[in-house]
């Protein structure tokens, strides 16, 4: 039995379904089947910290408490959830006088928390718990010749820098290399996608994503691999508008790293939700040979 509870957050049940539908089979194949944290609530992401940071830590505290009661650590595939839960966890363990009050409030509400839970991103678990030796042994159909731009975005590598380097992370590149792909030197790998700006101040959001797509193209990438739902959404769904706004064909498949890893592990393509992509993946299948008949 896995010692992890899976925390989907709002995205993996919504626009990031391909992420959920690929991360679950990958972990199942690895022998760490992920069970969903029962009755989890949304983390509040950057929004809650902008409005009420005390309540932000409290609602995250409820999730931590649910995991503690189930005697599990948390795996949060969304970088926003990962950061929010981790940040709240540290806040509740810290010396801020409000932390004690929140812990008391959690107890009052019947979700007592003692600070025993660790929050991790699946990439971290794959690197540190599973390891490249085991992963390598599980690769059945290496992604030979596929040039991938590994895009980490912001919140997985910052502000917590103990998992990977905040400017030049390598964990995702290393993982994709194990899967047989060829990571390209992607200078924009930790540059921000703008988060919700594509929906609030569109011209700023589009420009930020244009820069990311353009740089991946320039490096000769066949696709971009992401670890965060908001990054994936922005990079994929803004492409049409970006091509129109800048008159530059920067269209490129944008996939979750778990979809690519699952493919390399020999999991059936149909099971990995490639069909939920709105960008045509023809070029990708052509590159991988056998017309995607796997």
């Amino acid at each position: 039995m896995s010692r992890y509870a899976y925390y989907p957050g709002c995205s993996l049940k919504g626009n990031a379904r391909p992420y959920e539908e690929s991360i679950l089979p990958v972990f199942r194949e690895i022998g760490l089947p992920l069970e969903e944290l029962d009755d989890w609530n949304c983390c509040g992401a950057t929004a809650y910290f902008s409005v009420d940071d005390t309540m932000a830590a409290a609602v995250s505290g409820r999730n931590l408490s649910l995991a503690e009661r189930a005697n599990r650590d948390i795996i949060a595939p969304c970088a926003g959830c990962y950061l929010t839960l981790r940040k709240s966890n540290e806040f509740l363990a810290g010396r801020d006088p409000r932390a004690a009050k929140i812990l008391a409030d959690l107890k009052t509400a019947g979700c007592e928390y003692h600070g025993t839970v660790t929050v991790k991103h699946p990439l971290q678990v794959l690197r540190d718990d599973v390891g490249s030796t085991k992963l390598k042994s599980m690769i059945r159909r290496p992604l030979s010749g596929l040039r991938v731009a590994s895009y980490y975005g912001c919140q997985l590598v910052r502000p917590f820098t103990d998992f990977d380097d905040p400017d030049h992370p390598t964990s995702l590149d290393d993982l994709l290399a194990v899967a047989g792909a060829q990571p390209v030197a992607y200078a924009a790998k930790t540059r921000c996608c703008g988060g919700s700006l594509t929906g609030t101040i569109e011209e700023v959001g589009l420009r930020l994503n244009y820069i990311l797509l353009k740089e991946a193209k320039r490096r000769g990438a066949d696709c971009i691999a992401t670890i965060c739902p908001l990054c994936q959404f922005n990079l994929e769904f803004a492409q049409g508008k970006i091509v129109k706004a800048y008159g530059d064909d920067v269209r490129l498949p944008v996939l979750y790293f778990s979809q690519l890893l699952g493919l390399a592990m020999g999991i059936d393509k149909k099971e990995l939700s490639f069909s939920r992509s709105i960008i045509p993946l023809k070029s990708l299948w052509a590159k991988l040979g056998n017309g995607g008949a796997r």
Binding site: S50, V51, M55, R62, T200
Partner: protein, 193 residues
């Protein structure tokens, strides 16, 4: 032409502002800012900002409360934490930006019609009421609240694509144990400042 003063006099400043922000952000090192500008040069949004992050730090340090709270800068900050991890004085700049956003909302001085604080508040409202956010309902209330029906219509093709690929549902999400959530929200609100 009317000539107006462009520089604040000491009596225009708020001497308690630094302390207020240090308390709200949990960052006690704002005074150690050396004005090097690493934050501004690292910030992917600074080209769109009316006041670069370095100047915001100087404003906080010196009591320019009104200028800091009314800037677009604090709303453009997308919390990428690049400035924060690079700051040579180890100032938690992103957390300072968050506390400025909260202050601006509390004091109701954020720019009218700006969608960012509206989105933040709508998301917060959904979560404290239902425990979960639903992407579709969040977007609908954002466009309604910012009175941008035209923008909403322009989003329709995107919505259709999301529906077609099964990536957006009409369901209103919610936690099962709503009473627990409600009692938590109530307990936190009680005794809060």
């Amino acid at each position: 032409m009317k000539i107006t003063r462009k520089v604040a006099y000491e009596e225009d400043l708020d001497p308690g502002f630094l302390d207020e922000i240090e308390q709200a952000s949990g960052c006690r090192d704002i005074e150690s800012c050396i004005q090097c500008g690493t934050c501004s040069s690292s910030c992917p949004m600074s080209v769109y900002m009316d006041v670069p992050p370095r100047k915001i730090m100087a404003m906080v340090k010196n009591g320019f409360k009104d200028d800091a709270l009314r800037s677009f800068t604090i709303w453009l900050c997308s919390s990428c934490y690049t400035c924060q991890v690079r700051c040579p004085s180890k100032i938690k700049i992103t957390d300072v930006m968050y506390s400025l956003k909260r202050k601006a909302i509390q004091e109701k001085v954020y720019p009218a019609k700006l969608a960012i604080p509206v989105l933040d508040r709508e998301m917060t409202r959904l979560i404290s009421a239902h425990g979960r956010s639903s992407e579709l309902w969040l977007l609908l209330s954002l466009y309604l609240k910012t009175r941008r029906p035209w923008a909403m219509l322009k989003m329709a093709p995107l919505g259709l694509k999301l529906m077609k690929t099964g990536r957006m549902s009409l369901r209103r999400e919610s936690v099962k144990d709503k009473p627990q959530l409600r009692s938590l929200v109530k307990a936190v609100k009680e005794g809060a400042r």
